[in-house]
Symmetry: C2
Subunit: 442 residues, 2 copies
């Protein structure tokens, strides 16, 4: 069923047909439909669903829609929905809903759960603590494989994953892990302690999500244990959450590289004021930095007037800016993927010098020919061509090296992207251009 059909059925109030058609669909698809409806209508459709499907669908909704629905449902419905959520998703939702809904949720939780919720709410955003869930299978190393399988059968239905089990010892310290694959393929009488993996990769509750994503990518894990400062196992992180983290970090990089303050808000949902606030700071900084170009232009006004030089400045600046943006983007992305490190600084520098010269020479010659053909003045043609070579090479060097320097200074390399590079390149381009013009024309 598509959204148009659903809207038609809603408008003509054919509710039983909606119920029938939706019951055959995947929960994720139903969730997608609900997100496209107005909130009151989505509540109506949501209540048409059989209870067990409804709870599943709810877990697939984005947090914003979950939060809005939570404010509208009855206490009984709220309890059922919260029961179905994994603990990490529950925490995400609690962070989003209005205070009165938080209160309702906490009222219906028992003491242990309330304590846990409060503890999890305190983990910093973007930390392992804020990503992990508590629903994992715990085993003891004295168990046999058949006892372990029995434990999994008893407790597995409520776990986020049963494909890795975690073996803990005294005071919940993490002693090993064992995959369900190994359990299934091992002799039923084998002892967990003998067959478990003891050389376990784990993270700490305060580790940053970007680092955690790297761990997942490097080892091809499906899940990863999280321990506290006393090495006690407190939760696990699963691969589906990591996919979201990668998307989130990428979005942040894109935003920083376009001189936008990173934001997690949905573009269509965000208010004009919020969007403007995220965009203004860098625009203002860059605009005032461009005052330097005004000074350079002013200082060379006699040249501009005498030889009508201003006409070439937009093309020169934009070409330099584009070349710099290319270098910056290639290098920033390689830093993010771990392919370029600080030790590669001089290799990058040398590469950018050569690429810059090669690209600049091509552009310079092409433009030299173009100006000579259209204008007939060889001095002008050479002047613009030479400027292009110098400015493109300079832009390549700046674009390629500044992100590495930023990384070394513990700044996000992404801020050294096109807008900032462009501003630096603009000023330099003008300086180079007027210098060359003075040499050739004067």
């Amino acid at each position: 069923m598509d959204i148009k059909t659903l809207q038609d059925l809603l408008d003509t109030r054919r509710f039983s047909e909606i119920r029938n058609q939706l019951s055959d669909m995947q929960e994720a698809d139903i969730a997608e439909l609900l997100e496209d409806l107005r909130i009151r209508e989505s509540l109506l459709v949501f209540r048409l669903l059989p209870k067990e499907i409804a709870a599943e669908v709810f877990s697939f909704l984005d947090v914003d829609r979950q939060s809005k629905l939570s404010s509208l449902v009855s206490d009984q419905e709220l309890i059922e929905l919260m029961d179905e959520l994994n603990f990490d998703d529950k925490i995400d939702l609690i962070e989003e809903v209005p205070a009165n809904v938080v209160k309702r949720i906490l009222q219906h939780s028992n003491d242990t759960e309330r304590t846990l919720i409060n503890q999890f709410l305190n983990y910093p955003d973007d930390s392992a603590g804020s990503l992990m869930t508590i629903e994992f299978v715990g085993l003891k190393k004295e168990m046999t494989v058949s006892k372990a399988m029995a434990t999994i059968r008893q407790t597995g239905v409520d776990k986020e994953t049963i494909y890795t089990s975690y073996v803990t010892g005294h005071k919940r310290t993490l002693e090993g892990i064992i995959s369900l694959k190994d359990l299934v393929l091992s002799d039923t009488e084998a002892i967990i302690g003998d067959i478990m993996e003891t050389d376990v990769i784990f993270v700490n509750t305060h580790d940053d999500q970007e680092y955690i994503a790297e761990v997942f990518k490097k080892y091809d894990f499906l899940s990863l244990p999280v321990v506290d400062n006393e090495n006690r196992l407190v939760g696990i992180i699963t691969i589906d959450d990591i996919v979201d983290v990668i998307e989130e970090e990428t979005t942040e990089d894109f935003q920083r590289m376009a001189a936008i303050e990173p934001t997690e808000i949905d573009y269509l949902e965000a208010s004009t004021t919020v969007l403007a606030k995220k965009r203004l700071p860098w625009l203002v900084i860059l605009m005032f930095s461009a005052y330097l170009t005004e000074m350079v232009m002013n200082g060379n006004n006699h040249l501009i007037v005498q030889f009508a030089l201003a006409i070439y400045t937009p093309m020169l600046m934009s070409t330099g800016g584009n070349a710099g943006a290319q270098s910056a983007t290639l290098v920033i992305r390689s830093i993010t993927l771990g392919d370029i490190k600080f030790k590669d600084f001089f290799q990058v520098l040398w590469k950018e010098i050569r690429v810059g010269l090669m690209v600049g020479a091509t552009l310079g010659v092409l433009n030299c020919i173009r100006i000579f053909i259209t204008n007939g003045d060889i001095y002008r043609a050479v002047m613009v061509g030479l400027t292009l070579i110098c400015t493109t090479t300079f832009a390549a060097i700046i674009g390629g090296t500044l992100p590495i320097v930023a990384k070394k200074l513990k700044l996000d390399p992404a801020i050294m992207a096109s807008p900032l590079i462009t501003t630096i390149v603009d000023v330099t381009t003008l300086l180079i251009f007027f210098r060359i013009a003075t040499l050739i024309l004067a």
Copy 2:
């Protein structure tokens, strides 16, 4: 062990110590060390490893390093390494190695495998066929759970995943799937056909990898079946490959948005010529498009000369370009994540008009004040301020809407990123500026 220690041990030829220290490490970490060595040294270290570890480490190396090592090892070593690789990784490697190594690999494969390899090599790059592997667990719907578990125990060790099994019928048609979780939690006498999931989400061998990544993200799958045009199950795709696809597609987007021809090559490994070739086409196109700015400047040279207007043009153009880049980036990213569709065109347009006006007004007023203070000429101040409001709003509209139009025209929205937007905005900024200047100053 870090790379420096390893290099020291190599230089002093303490091979048994290398062997001992490496044996305690994770295979993925050893692979990372090998990638940082010169190729001959990495072969030496590789041969120091116990056989079973060596094969595992090999599977963690990037394809480039795998390919280089393959050219150097003996036939016997090559056979052992290929045996350890999953089929999808084997195909990736065969696509990379020199022809003589391909020949050696095919010589040591049997007829069935050779046919399969040839078939897989024919799937288009970036298609489901090129991502999938053939190592999945196949079940029949008549089986009981205990028979199914026995099958998994027998065949599971060589499979890419055993956490989902695929139930096929007549002529290998896909009839259902069942997770190991469901198998473990079900009664051992239950019949697979009764408990399997029949409403299976699958993809076709020719589906694009970007679409496949979306399917994984939407449904939170760990693996996904791939069928051919006759609905026969031919392979499966696993989540670890999807993480790579997401990274790859993101890198492509970054490159396109910086006017670079998308390339998968490693920055540090790529030759100067290759990098220059990827960067030149768009630079040339954009440079020649900037000829328009020359025409506009030329046509207004009398104004420039009479009122020294050129000094403001760099700042105006770069501010407009930055504002446009911000809008383009926000919208392109939202399109990629599926948050903005063509039906949202007018909502985006209306939002960008308001944001553009709000941002533009702020920038305009700030600059107006700045120029009035430094220059004292209220006419100039107003002229620049007004231009900023118009140009920022225009840039926001263009940046916000062109990517949506591109998507509708089946182009990659990412090409409508800052470089192209900047060029359009540059010309328009100049036109607006000289028009306003004529009105105010003339």
